[in-house]
Symmetry: C2
Subunit: 411 residues, 2 copies
């Protein structure tokens, strides 16, 4: 069994992943999905030069001499509501009353906001507006195409759609959005000792927490989990579930059954029905990781240990799912934070320690969640990052900065 560095294992896995086909969905369902095609503006946005304020469209020369003491009076020749189109052009001495967002007259040079006129004042005359200030060319006019020009690339393929990009898609009229299909991931927990969450465990039994935690990780990775029934340590049952999973899912995920124990049938059956490799990765926590394919569908065998399973998912399965799902950014962001705890010793294996990363004006800090035993799923609930202690290094001294895989929101 080869001993692989984390980055090498990640690269080897990613190399074998292929991205799913795309599908077209409603804009209202597109938040968080991954764009499958670059998107271009269908027209200028804004589509026409428009007013940034409620005010009067004017020719700049007409108000050049205007001041509070010596206002300039202009004839109001038209009133344009938002959504309406001006029917006049400005001529010397005239003004067109206009609302925010409305198209400005073709030859308008500026819009003077109401606040700089006698608009609404008791002594204002019906068809005349008095201007109290000069203005500049282009003032309060948003030119056509200021935001996006017709034909311009506005969003890239592989980009995750968040609120800002949804706004852009609405602006360019993308009522339907081309996105990558989300990978469907069958989650198979194995072990005679496991019972489902709703069931009272008997002596010797434990609840299947990995299935639920991994399902949540799958969803956080932008994929769709399918929780399969718990599989007892029984070859027939395992073969049957694997056959069902291959039929229903794009990716298979097992937990448990990849270590060296003789009740670990997973390894045996996987070797029998698929092409599997069992890797020892030079990391901690983490046991052997099984990786391969059945009928061309990728399969990952995670350790049974809750924390090891979650960490292995983070490091190996998540980037793979992201590639399958068409994401451009496959990895979590790394941050560098000041270690507030005691010194951390290096090890021959790369260590991933659960930490809480906080942000303040002094920068980012990291504190261990406490004991780092690989059975402590409660520590994963508190952590928002995995601090890396590089293998065969001089370790990390308290007060030094360390690299952290940030998987939750900063505190």
């Amino acid at each position: 069994m080869s001993l692989l560095a984390v980055a090498d294992a990640q690269a080897a896995i990613l190399e074998r992943m292929t991205t799913l086909a795309s599908e077209s969905i409603e804009l209202t369902a597109a938040l968080g999905r991954v764009l499958a095609r670059p998107m271009y503006a269908d027209r200028d946005a804004p589509p026409f030069a428009n007013s940034a304020m409620d005010g009067y469209a004017v020719l700049v020369g007409d108000v050049a001499q205007a001041s509070a003491d010596q206002p300039v009076a202009l004839q109001i020749i038209e009133r344009v509501a938002a959504g309406a189109v001006p029917t006049h052009e400005l001529r010397a001495g005239s003004a067109i009353r206009i609302m925010t967002g409305a198209q400005v007259p073709a030859n308008a040079e500026a819009v003077v906001p109401f606040e700089e006129t006698d608009e609404g004042q008791p002594n204002a005359q019906p068809d005349v507006v008095r201007m109290f200030q000069a203005t500049q060319h282009g003032s309060n006019i948003r030119p056509a195409g200021e935001d996006m020009q017709a034909g311009a690339l506005v969003l890239n393929a592989g980009q995750v759609l968040h609120a800002g990009s949804i706004g852009v898609l609405a602006t360019i009229g993308a009522a339907q959005v081309p996105v990558f299909r989300q990978p469907r991931v069958a989650i198979i927990a194995t072990g005679d000792e496991l019972v489902d969450v709703g069931i009272e465990p008997n002596p010797g039994q434990i609840r299947n927490s990995n299935g639920y935690a991994n399902a949540a990780q799958v969803r956080e990775a932008g994929a769709i989990p399918i929780i399969m029934p718990i599989v007892p340590d029984n070859a027939e049952a395992l073969r049957a579930i694997l056959a069902q999973a291959v039929a229903e899912a794009d990716v298979l995920l097992t937990s448990g059954g990849v270590s060296v124990g003789d009740y670990d049938l997973v390894k045996q059956i996987l070797n029998e029905v698929g092409k599997l490799e069992f890797w020892r990765v030079r990391m901690r926590p983490g046991k052997p990781l099984a990786f391969g394919s059945i009928n061309g569908k990728p399969i990952f065998g995670l350790p049974g240990n809750p924390v090891s399973a979650m960490v292995c998912f983070e490091l190996f399965v998540r980037p793979a799912l992201r590639k399958i799902g068409g994401y451009q950014q496959l990895f979590r962001p790394s941050v560098w934070a000041k270690l507030l705890d005691a010194d951390l010793e290096s090890n021959e294996r790369r260590q991933y320690l659960r930490v809480i990363v906080k942000s303040s004006a002094e920068g980012l800090t990291a504190e261990l969640t406490g004991a780092q035993g690989s059975g402590l799923v409660s520590s994963m609930a508190r952590a928002n990052g995995l601090l890396i202690v590089p293998e065969a290094s001089r370790g990390i001294i308290r007060g030094e900065y360390a690299e952290i895989v940030l998987f939750g929101e900063l505190h």
Copy 2:
């Protein structure tokens, strides 16, 4: 119209928000939801002392002299599979073969992994195992309650459920989870100039992008958007939609119609049917923000301008929705990043500039997305943060650190 500081406006809004009732949902639907009650471990986790490795449970004294040269032979008196319960206790000179996760015999003192025995070696005897190393008390035994002790508080009310906490909930048998109900938010875009995304705009018309962008922001805030039909600038239509929204939603959100233009009926109608205040907040971008209630339901009137609407949402509506939704953490995390662009001048208003925040070993950096005009929705699609230039300050000089409201993932 009062001129409020951002923090004062936020505080005034939050003070009037009340949290919704809770509901009980399936564990598989709980990811991203907010826990409504503190959760306690129903039993020890692990529920029994168990083996961390595949190996042999032993008494420490029996192997004290063991070495590769002088192995100690122990009688295998039982074999325990995962999920099974040992029926024997250890006695001097005996070993019990045990799989990872299986309950250890009551008097077991350590588990010696297979790798430190002759397990699987060609010359191994059937009912005898030879030990090659000494071991320590507790070695490879996970004590009962190591992760969580029966009765211990494991998750707090107000906590957002992510994969780690889902794992904890599964462990404590929470098949049903008490969470806060998600606020339903009616999104009302107003303006004669607006057409829906799927419709070709006529001259003078623009597409309703705010409705979709705000709906996405509502969803990102953990609430449920209800996009109402576009309302023309017509009192009857607006009254009708507001009545429908009040009936269907917990919170109302309008965009457009809160400035001083005379086609801005929203203000007039809101004053007529509800208790409304119109605030000028000392910030940029941002126009007057309307805030109040109709029939006891909070209503927010956002500016019509796309970027102003999104920024006002971020700063005022999002924290309010989070409080209504029971979140403990109401605000986005702030980060401090080094400004890579030119110097930024201060203004009498607090400025929020769209930036791209990147993380590297040198720390966090921020770059402006480019022009900061409030019509530039495309800049919101590129940004992952809003850099704050405090009002009436000395500004921010290139190379200095600035506070940033981080709303997207770090690059």
